[in-house]
Amino acid sequence: MVSIESAATPGTSSLPAARVRRIIKEDKDIFACGSDSLFLISRATEYFIDSLVRESYEFSRLDKRKTVQYKDMAKAVQSIEQYDFLTDIIPPTVSLKKNTN
């Protein structure tokens, strides 16, 4: 995996810490998150973006397109087990033929 050059300074994240913290805090079960952990979660998210974008792009390439489209990302989510948690927000596009009754 390509390593991400994050911001100008090493050991920083491109994602704003305060915003990431607010997103985390939406979970009422979470009591507190250390700033180191916050940093790790930010970085992990950057790697997640990197992976998902590249994997989606693979499907665009297979289709000989230069634009990554919704269906490419849907296929990427369907095909990778670790992305199962995303199936609710990316319902796979169902072919109309299947629904004829």
Binding site: S3, S6, A18, S37, D50, V68, Y70, M73, Q82, F85
Partner: protein, 158 residues
């Protein structure tokens, strides 16, 4: 609203800043490849889900250790647990750099005094001494009569 960060006013709309994520996407794709707008927005939602997922799993691991604050090792364990081991190596590396940065910032503040090699007591004594000297100088000036009565520092109060 006094939200200086400029984030969404309503917490329900909370997500990562669009511009930042769009820029990351562009950096990750080849120059001649674009990403459709609805796809970029979808990615934003996916990021939210991912953050919630990792945070939640980290929290569970944290609670199992009877701790209340999510620590770095909880996050790393969560990543492994959720099948994201491939991120762990690079995240750990970034963590190392992060801590180096922090030590550098902290170090800059303390080395000047540390280098003198004086104990706190000695530092206090020398500070008192310097104050006493300054006081004497001031009193001498006053005794000689300061020129125009306005030469010293200290702004006049209206």
């Amino acid at each position: 609203m006094s939200d200086y960060e400029g984030g969404p006013a309503n917490d329900d709309d909370l997500s990562l800043p669009r511009a930042t994520v769009y820029k990351l996407i562009a950096e990750m794709l080849p120059d001649d490849v674009a990403c459709a707008k609805d796809t970029r927005d979808l990615l934003l939602d996916c990021c939210n889900e991912f953050i919630h997922l990792i945070a939640s799993e980290s929290n569970e691991i944290c609670e199992k250790e009877a701790k209340k604050t999510i620590a770095a090792e909880h996050v790393l364990a969560a990543l492994r647990e959720l099948g994201f081991e491939k991120y762990v190596g690079e995240v750990e590396e970034a963590y190392g750099e992060h801590r180096q940065q922090q030590t550098k910032d902290r170090g800059r503040k303390s080395t000047k005094l540390n280098r003198l090699g004086l104990s706190e007591e000695e530092l206090l004594r020398s500070q008192e001494f310097l104050f006493a000297q300054a006081r004497m100088r001031f009193q001498n000036q006053a005794a000689q009569g300061a020129p125009d009565g306005g030469g010293g520092s200290g702004g006049g109060s209206a």
